[in-house]
Symmetry: C2
Subunit: 642 residues, 2 copies
Amino acid sequence: MDKHQVTFQPDNVSIEVDHGTSLLKAANLAGIDLASTCGGKGTCGRCAVKVKEGKVQDEAKGNLPPRLRKSGQVLACMTHVAGDVVVETTADTRLREHRVLTGNKGLLAEKQVDLLAGNAFQPLVKKLLLTLEPPSVTENASDLTRLEGELRKITGHQHFRIDWPVIRNLAEHLRQSDWQVTAVLADYNDEPQVLQVLPGHDRIPPYGLAIDVGTTTVVVALVDLESGRVVDQAGTYNRQSRYGDDVISRMIHSTEENNGLRQLQEAVVSTINDLIATLLQRNNIHHTRVYLVVSAGNTTMTHLLMGSTPRYIRLEPYIPTFTRVPTSSAGELGLNVLPAAPVLNFPSVASYVGGDIVSGVLVSRVAESEEPVLFIDIGTNGEMVLGNREWMVTCACSAGPAFEGGGIACGMRAMDGAIERVEIDPGTHDVRLSVIGGGKPVGICGSGLIDCLAQLQTAGVIDRAGKFQHDLPTPRLRSVDGDMEFVLAWASESGVNKDITISESDVQNLLRAKGAIFAGIRSLLHMVSMEMPDISKVLIAGGFGNYLNIHDSVAIGLLPDLPPEKYEFIGNSSLKGAEAALLSKPAWLKVEELGRMMTYLELSVGTTFMDEFVSAMFLPHTDLSLFPSLLDQSSLKKASNL
Amino acid sequence: MDKHQVTFQPDNVSIEVDHGTSLLKAANLAGIDLASTCGGKGTCGRCAVKVKEGKVQDEAKGNLPPRLRKSGQVLACMTHVAGDVVVETTADTRLREHRVLTGNKGLLAEKQVDLLAGNAFQPLVKKLLLTLEPPSVTENASDLTRLEGELRKITGHQHFRIDWPVIRNLAEHLRQSDWQVTAVLADYNDEPQVLQVLPGHDRIPPYGLAIDVGTTTVVVALVDLESGRVVDQAGTYNRQSRYGDDVISRMIHSTEENNGLRQLQEAVVSTINDLIATLLQRNNIHHTRVYLVVSAGNTTMTHLLMGSTPRYIRLEPYIPTFTRVPTSSAGELGLNVLPAAPVLNFPSVASYVGGDIVSGVLVSRVAESEEPVLFIDIGTNGEMVLGNREWMVTCACSAGPAFEGGGIACGMRAMDGAIERVEIDPGTHDVRLSVIGGGKPVGICGSGLIDCLAQLQTAGVIDRAGKFQHDLPTPRLRSVDGDMEFVLAWASESGVNKDITISESDVQNLLRAKGAIFAGIRSLLHMVSMEMPDISKVLIAGGFGNYLNIHDSVAIGLLPDLPPEKYEFIGNSSLKGAEAALLSKPAWLKVEELGRMMTYLELSVGTTFMDEFVSAMFLPHTDLSLFPSLLDQSSLKKASNL
């Protein structure tokens, strides 16, 4: 088969590919990560590139905005190499470093108590400095028997798991420093595991990794298991994104593509390994000093990390292969730490309520609260838990990728260049923007979109159903190909040399997203016969949550109309829970119990959710009595206008 | 570096090697197994070959009998390639198919009771045919939870070990035959392990392997774990022999050679794999149908199989790395059966009393006997156990390789061409021989050597101290290079065109070997304050034991002078014990208890053994009162001569 050279600019990276290879695949092979929400199906319109030189076969289909097509751009996934080509990529189609919630970094000793969320400090790995009696002709027990005897004496445990890689070196390691050795013990269940026996008394602390495997971003924390200190953290986007932005497109990729499952597993493992390499290098730590990994992710992410098909998570009746996750090892998964290091995963509750939520519930101490608490994690899915020390109910509603920028023409994730705050002058319709990183805007992220929706309504640009007014005296409002849109930033002001807009179809997508989440909350309350005011506290988790404007979120009917003091942002609780588990055996043992304690509400059963969803497709809702504070304001406003 | 071609005849196999490679190494690389007792140190004189063409550098040292040197032979280990060469190997330097004890093959159902040695039939692996309730939106437990629930119901166990290779295919396998599956369960400890979940109700029986890993030979039995039938067996020499014949030279090789340990492990694994391939092909069984391996070997063999250094077994105070052997898996060891198949090893008692002896004790039911029983396994080492249902003592004495043909000029193992019976006419000194396989003799094996010793004494050729008479009127007796020797077969009668002889130094080696074993038995009796007649039964195990002439063995003072009916040959009890364990969980659970129950007597502590050894270096012994039946015979003989 003919081979052609594809060069990507501005990176100037070249790769040789077969005739007919798509530019998206060529980019993947070259290590250029193009945004692709749909996984290469031509529907998301995110992977636009410009062919500067050379011959391609363009299928001329797929969802590419006409103005991009006119400017010579093509969809990388729909364009196939037919000769040596040079391709230019633009800033808004490239995945870049995310704004990643790291928190906790460099915690001071006295603050570690918080990290443990009320659990005793009892790290899952400890080093034991042993001095054994040397053997003699009359005291001739085997090396292993001798070691186990000493471990029994010191730990009180009767049995230990000791695998062959440790035993194979045991004879030499015991004798190298005259029967002084350091045993590294992982203690997370009934039978402690000897991970390593080092010659001499080794004083380097043992390390562990806490990992939050998100659909969008992956964060790894390096934890000193002796002092309990979070030494360092690093995060980046999940390299699986090249196969699709959301869990659904990844599931499809894993099922329908040759080797799709393996590609996805390798992508997330290499993402984690890159972060591990960064952390270990930055802190000058050898990889064999990392003895345990605790990972939290949603059910699909956990299946993909473990190399298990997520196929039946997607198909009715939505059954995961596992919820409790049997222990694996770093070596088995290909993680670059000590190969024998156990890899513990937080258990899932169901197909769409995963270990990340269980981890969040652990650190936010929902199960210890007297009063009902609402825990909510807003991402592509909105996952929520309502409960107290006696009961917990949970559900997941498919919000769609709108809040992560998916399905929105100028949408993007929360990274440099994203509009995160919007103000629209109700009189002049002038716009003031706040952009992540402070530069020129290239798109708009979730928190910006919520602001935008609230501001568009306040400014009278859209009505309660999200329909655009047609007769406002501003050039920012216009009709393009029959779709109304509002210009947030002109091409001249933007970082991508094109207008940044929000259209009526964008607004409909956002209404569906916020409606789904609100309907989910209402369904949980309905299940336990409660009303909004019964919620004593709302804990908002996740990367997106942290940048949320509560007032605007209530104004658009995304969040319940409760006093601001009832809201609390808890950041990346998935990661924090993993850190807590690393440092506390009681916390880790509690985790499985938490998973079992939660009652899962499948929203597709019955009509409650659908009814609630339809009612929530308005700004803020069809039933305004659910939003008393807005009524008050609007009464006040009306009163002041009189 | 220059490369040369080495061609071995009569096989006509060629191999390209570096300049300077020894012919022994070249032979190993070419897959030609030359006998080498010393492991290539030039001391055993076993690897003689003839260079027919080409240039070699002969170090002209090493222990090569002058007559072989005169006939143009060289030691392969001391001769290095200096050009393309053609080498001829002779029958007596080649390792060949051993006479291997197989027993049991094709047992009838009613005879399987014997195989179990009194233990309940409860195979370590069973297949469970399951029919699960399909999930629904309301009954939405995960696949794993569903499977575990059914297993709990059926087996009564609460927890199961299920590894990732099984979980990864679980979703598809459950759905492939509409929630009918076959679970293969290994049940050998507290937590049964699910080894495989196959779609549908699979009716092919599960298989297991019992392996006897001997220093000299390896035997594998294929066992149907449903019917309990030993389907087939195969045995061959241990490929480690190319690195030395006995455990000591293997230990040295593993420690002193680069990669020595790995070479030895690979050698025994490839030996086992070849036997597995033979068995599976012969019986048309796929390797993934073999679910469990039980192996028994001496302590050094077990260390080498597991890839663990035997270094400290050899050095005082003789400490093995392990006695109890943690479970491994076929995949970890490289055995070509289902990779997840557990590999269970019989525990050792000490460095020189291994799992083969524990296995023998299991099947010979020593620990169930009312009266004291002596179990004895004669090989390079003589290992013995004395005991009853209340106590067991054990020791090992280094008999040296004489009974396996090592250190004896014309010695060889029990294979085709070996003299196994000798009769010498006391008047004419004519010799009658019996040869394994019925052809011309090429050497003499252990049972032949014992006969020979007894017959030489009876015929007056040697005295009680093993010294040769000088003045017998027979051309068979002669002095060569100052050493007396007796010709058993003339060159013209032999299969190797040279005289087959036994010399005075051979006799001294044999006296040391038999003296060590007898002294070991006496030391055990001494430890428990017993005398020979207190032994109710002598169980003789092992390949060599089976061909032993009891009368001659008593006559030379190798075995105690007890009535013949107290002796019993139990064959390859190491293999039989492994078979029993495969078929009986109670038997396997008893094994660890047996290992702990035996008190090990280290013969190098104290003077008892040494005193006994010196006294036993006569024919039959310095203390003739220990051999009353011989005294009677000799009195009778003297009386009849009067």
